[in-house]
């Protein structure tokens, strides 16, 4: 094969896993090419809150008198009493635990700065381990400014370090395939990629590291785990960072196996979340693209941030209310994704719409106009409830919402407000009628976040095939890696660093 470019290690994806992988590989003497499909680095981590859950007794923990150890990290993340830990691959957890302190030190050595305030995560952790990275200091280089997206500081700093150490970062280079000696056997040799109209091939003399970030944006892929997750469910991180399962698919094409799939549908963890910012397409709870975001032209609206779910009802695409709106449990998602009665769409629940009135707008202090709402399919207003239903026109709303059904839903809810009892779904109160015109329908469909399963690896982050054998020269870290469902950045960075180190030390 004629290679366009060549390096010892090729890393796919410049996010929370790929950047540490690239740096670690360089630290161990390898030449590194890092390809990133986006116009800028960072992936989901650029938009994250920067909460880094590394423990084991590192320097910052010790400074605050927090007693922790690698063993404690291990025991926390194999706890049988919790859904986010009971399905863990304990071999991976053991390695993760043992590498926590070294990874924290690695971040500090590469310039990452932390806010000195320990946080106890509401997950399997039993001691405070979260320290938040400092936000990047250049506002114009933050994709979601003004919203404490402190992950920007993590990925910008690591990128600067990677470049300084000689990592060759190729933006807008999309991996299109992984090249192996034979289709299902032999060593991995490199990747193919596309840059605009140009096709290129990049040799990886020692290893290819898949750090592509997960699969939530690939409808076909995510439905392997949960057939309900049809096309209407958007993804956190969009429209900046696509989790398209590219790495998983390319690896599976050459024999890779998935692993730890129970996590994805266990009902624990933020695989599916409520939208908190309604009336826009991407309203993930902690993520708002303000008008000065460099991608606001793609996001189109900031959304209306909900402070009180008593101010609205949710209806499905048929105009029927389906659950208690103030219930934040996973039961809400089951109801939202239930069969809506549409015989043409048996899977998925269809779009979910928040329905509210002018009084709710006043109580929330909203201005229901652009740039706060996206009138191109995600926000509608009308003088009456029946009229509102007919105005809803959205790519995922496959049939017109019947006005009489929506009106009946609202009238029934208003009757519950009069009586003080929600006979259908036991919403406390309910407090406010939906009666004062104009009326509004805002996109409030649940939004996907974490990929909680992915490729099988061993503790060196080497990818394992469906027969249980290592695929020589192929690595995976981050949300594309299976077997560990801790939310956030830490597992990405620990195994990214392990992958880079091991790949660099392989014989080519």
């Amino acid at each position: 094969m004629q290679w366009t470019l060549s390096a010892d290690v090729v890393v796919i994806g410049a996010g929370a896993a790929g950047l540490p992988a690239a740096i670690a590989a360089r630290d161990h003497g390898a030449s590194v090419i890092l390809v990133e499909e986006n116009f800028d680095i960072g992936g989901h981590a650029m938009l994250s809150g920067g909460r880094v859950q590394l423990g084991g007794g590192h320097a910052l923990q010790r400074k605050f008198g927090i007693e922790d150890s690698a063993d404690q990290v291990f025991h926390d993340w194999v706890r049988p009493d919790r859904g986010d830990s009971r399905y863990s691959d304990r071999d991976l957890i053991r390695t993760f635990a043992d590498e926590n302190v070294a990874t924290f030190d690695f971040l500090v050595e590469n310039g990452v700065a932390f806010i000195e305030k320990p946080i106890l995560a509401p997950d399997a952790a039993t001691v405070p381990r979260i320290f938040v990275t400092k936000e990047w200091h250049v506002s114009s280089e933050i994709i979601a400014p003004h919203r404490r997206r402190n992950g920007s500081g993590l990925v910008r700093t690591l990128t600067a370090s990677a470049r300084k150490k000689g990592v060759d970062i190729l933006l807008q280079h999309k991996m299109t395939g992984i090249v192996r000696e034979q289709h299902n056997s032999g060593r991995v040799l490199g990747i193919t990629a596309r840059n605009g109209d140009a096709e290129l091939s990049i040799e990886a003399r020692k290893g290819v590291i898949v750090a592509t970030g997960g699969h939530t944006g690939n409808v076909n892929f995510r439905r392997m785990f949960d057939p309900r997750l049809t096309e209407e469910y958007q993804q956190a991180g969009m429209p900046y960072s696509v989790q398209g399962a590219d790495g998983e698919l390319a690896a599976m094409d050459i024999g890779a196996s998935l692993w730890g799939t129970a996590f994805q549908t266990s009902g624990f963890g933020p695989a599916i979340t409520r939208t908190r910012h309604i009336g826009c397409r991407w309203g993930y709870t902690s993520l708002v693209f303000e008008t000065d975001s460099p991608i606001f032209h793609l996001a189109k609206a900031t959304g209306l941030t909900v402070s009180d779910w008593q101010n609205m009802i949710f209806v499905n695409q048929s105009g029927k209310r389906f659950w208690n709106e103030v219930d934040l449990s996973n039961d809400f998602f089951a109801a939202a994704m239930a069969y809506s009665g549409d015989e043409a769409k048996l899977n998925g629940g269809g779009p979910i719409w928040a329905i509210f009135d002018a009084d709710a707008v006043a109580r929330e202090g909203w201005l229901p106009e652009p740039p706060h709402v996206d009138r191109d399919g995600y926000f509608f207003s009308a003088d009456t409830i029946a009229e509102l239903a007919g105005k809803i026109d959205n790519p995922y709303q496959k049939q017109t919402m019947p006005g009489d059904v929506l009106q009946a839903s609202v009238e029934r809810y208003n009757a519950f407000v009069t009586a003080g009892v929600d006979e259908d779904f036991a919403k406390p109160g309910p407090v406010h009628r939906i009666a004062t015109p104009p009326f509004y329908a805002a996109w409030a469909t649940p939004i996907l976040h974490d990929s909680l399963t992915g490729l099988r690896t061993n503790t060196n982050a080497e990818v394992i095939d469906t027969r249980g054998e290592v695929i020589p020269g192929l690595y995976c870290a981050g949300e594309s890696q299976g077997g560990f469902a801790q939310h956030g950045l830490a597992r990405c960075m620990v195994f990214g660093r392990i992958a880079g180190r091991h790949a660099a030390q392989r014989n080519s």
Binding site: G49, D81, R82, G83, D84, S85, A121, P122, D123, A124, F268, G269, P270, T273, R274, R276, T285, S286, S307, D308, Q310, L328, D357, A358, R363, A382, D383, T384, I385, A386, E387, G390, G403, Q407, E411, N414, A415, T418, A419, G420, P428, G429, V431, H432, R433, A435, T436, P437, P438, F439, H487
Partner: protein, 209 residues
């Protein structure tokens, strides 16, 4: 002409009913606002609207005003006053718009609403909501005492005129938790509600184990 073609030529009307009081005193008059919208934006000024009780009897009637309600596209509206039913309890009513005579032809429209019919109030109940730690009064807390409802003002207080009786008092304010309490009203009274701060919605809550 086919039925389908006739249907196609018939525009729709739809209704909204707002400012419905939570309670009305039996036999006394109360008012609501009613608006009607034509799907093709027809001028509806002067057309009649009616409110009917559960038995279908008209209890109020009026004509839509000359101008659409501000902030709407073309919602013609009016305020209707009518007597509350004589019997206490929840009363369901229906606002109705007849499109007879409207050109081009429109369908009729109706909308249901309800309120609670009560006896004439005898006592004044003043409720103050305070945050427990700081004793700070809480404005914009929503109160429900039986069928009576109010929101607290800047001083954290609201006043309700109610009948003698035993009620449950519910308090709702986002970010706070206040336990429901039983209230026996047999005279004018003052109630202080203790509200406890609950942490802001935790974005990590979804993965609570």
């Amino acid at each position: 002409m086919t039925n389908a073609a006739q249907v196609k030529q018939t525009a729709a009307t739809s209704l909204a009913v707002w400012e419905v009081p939570a309670t009305a005193v039996a036999g006394e008059r109360f008012a609501v606002k009613i608006g009607v919208k034509s799907s093709i934006g027809s001028d509806l000024r002067g057309h009649s609207v009616q409110v009917r009780n559960a038995a279908g009897d008209a209890i109020g009637e009026g004509r839509l005003g000359d101008a659409p309600r501000p902030s709407t596209d073309a919602l013609y509206w009016t305020e209707l006053s009518m007597p509350a039913p004589a019997v206490e309890g929840i009363a369901a009513m229906k606002a109705h718009f007849s499109a007879a005579g409207l050109q081009p032809p429109h369908t009729d429209a109706s909308a249901q609403f309800s309120l609670t019919v009560v006896k004439a109030p005898e006592h004044t109940v003043t409720i103050k909501v305070v945050e427990t730690e700081s004793a700070k009064p809480l404005a914009d807390a929503y109160l429900r005492l039986g069928s009576y409802r109010a929101a607290t003002g800047e001083a954290g207080s609201a006043t309700l005129r109610v009948c003698k009786g035993r009620y449950q008092l519910h308090t709702w304010k986002v970010g706070y938790d206040a336990a429901p309490q039983a209230v026996h009203v047999d005279g004018d009274m003052f109630i202080e509600v203790a509200a406890v701060v609950v942490p802001e919605e935790n974005v990590d809550r979804a993965w609570k184990g």
